[in-house]
Amino acid sequence: MSDLELDFDLTPSVVRKRQLRRPPTTLIVGGSIIGVIIVLAIFAPLVTSYNPTTINLLQTLQGPSAAHWLGTDQLGRDIWTRLVYGARTDLSVAFIAVLAPFAIGTVLGAFAGYLGGWLDNVIMRVADVVVAFPFYVLVILLVFLLGPGTSSIYIAITVVSWISYARIIRGSTLVVKNQEYVLAAQLEGFSTLRIILRHILPNVISQAIVFAMADIVNDILAIVTLGYLGLGIPPPAPDWGEMMASGQQFLTTHWELSTIPGIAVVITGLGLSLFGDGLNELMGRN
């Protein structure tokens, strides 16, 4: 009997509230890591008293000390400072870079899935063509053709990565568009645009948001990789990729120069991946 009473208590809203009280551990841990890095990046001038681009040739390649927590690089610049300002550069570029592919891919995916027909065919065939190019090859080619610089990075990443969003959203739109509430909206005579914006997108967008977390990790990796290949954010702006590339010349004597920025990338990636996993779990519950 008592079991039965318990079941009556557990209305969906009660279950939901109880579950919402305990967010997934991965979400908390990932969110904290990212939070700390973002705070450090935003308040970079308060975290360090050095300038990331000031060269001091009298103090090159020094080990860790009270004055320089992580030592200095081959041009005497404080490594901790460059790391913190590098987070500013790389994170802001990565977060901005994810916006356009997210928006374009989501809209195209929703229209392709909802309308079908020739539009669906054209969008998906274009996607097939872009996917036939290796990710880095196409990004490198585009940055080469457009000239190095932040705007080239945005364009290259947008051209390549809208496809994943479009495919994800199209897939779930195909499922959602046959649900009763969409059919009801169609019977009401609502416009296609209104149905897509108000009835389809709110129900499918969560998957794109979860994917966006993984995609930011990919974008950070792409940005530092371009920096490593000398095609990234132009110097002297501090960038983790450029730091690792220039540290490689000193691998035999000062391996920490290229290892430390790498660890920063790994920690950032870990935070975002955990946050994404947690978000996925949270959305799955709801």
Partner: protein, 311 residues
Amino acid sequence: MLLRYVGRRLLLMFPVAIGVTLLVFFSIHMVPGSPAYTFLGPHATKTAVAAFNQEWGLNRPVPVQYWFFLDRLFHGDLGESLFYQSSVAQLVLTRLPVTLSLLVGGALLSVVIAIPLAAISAVKSGTIIDQIIRFASTAGLGMPSFWIGTTLIIIFGLVFPLFPVGGYGTGFWGHVDAMFLPCLTIAISISPQLLRSLRTSLIDVLGSDYVAFARAKGTNARTILLKYGFRNAAIAAVSVLGINIGFLVGGTVVIENVFALPGLGQLMITSILDRDFPIVQGITLIFSVVVILTYLATDVTYALLDPRVRL
């Protein structure tokens, strides 16, 4: 049956191939300003510019240019390098084996790393070992491949000098020796993706009705894992590797530059720095051919492994 399936897949790839040639062809038109001055330098002579425009057909209408591009392509002509005194096709062909062996070696090694770890993680799901493996694979998702390479160079080249850290070596065993660290780098950088999906699919299989039935019959755990688990894991591995082939191939570009391997990726980056457009264009095309053919190979392997897929 299999031949008909392959033929049908090839036919479906035709529009993609057309799209790829269009994109590669139009890439030169994306260069801001005059391509001739961009690639030959601002002080190029009028004759050199005219010759460049003639060679690339830039002085003709665009549809005609595309037609000439296709015509040359079907004759195996990818143009002449601006920097080396050689045809692009020849340069590409001599470097293709390095890149292909890196690709195949990396893919095989990633399977060797990911399958046992995924099996342990799935069987011991929820235990501390599972947690450690999952944490490591999540951390691995955010590792830049060139950083993995540099770290391996520090560990196996400088601290414990076991492997050569650059170059391609001589002779077959020399190549194998020289390729081990680069292949390991590729394997480590794609293993996390592979491991995560393999773990999920293994847990699904081990929780399925037919595995429960096999258990009820008294089949021992080892046989279940090997017979049911791995066949399904192999199918999942093939599809995950197939989906990530673009990342894999792109990864070789970066890794070849870390280990100074004379492959296509290294040629692509040096050609970019030399602004040698014909080579960059040719390599982009070859890479996409590799990707398209790998998609085909993935589909065929998938069909052979999974009896549910009809040929």
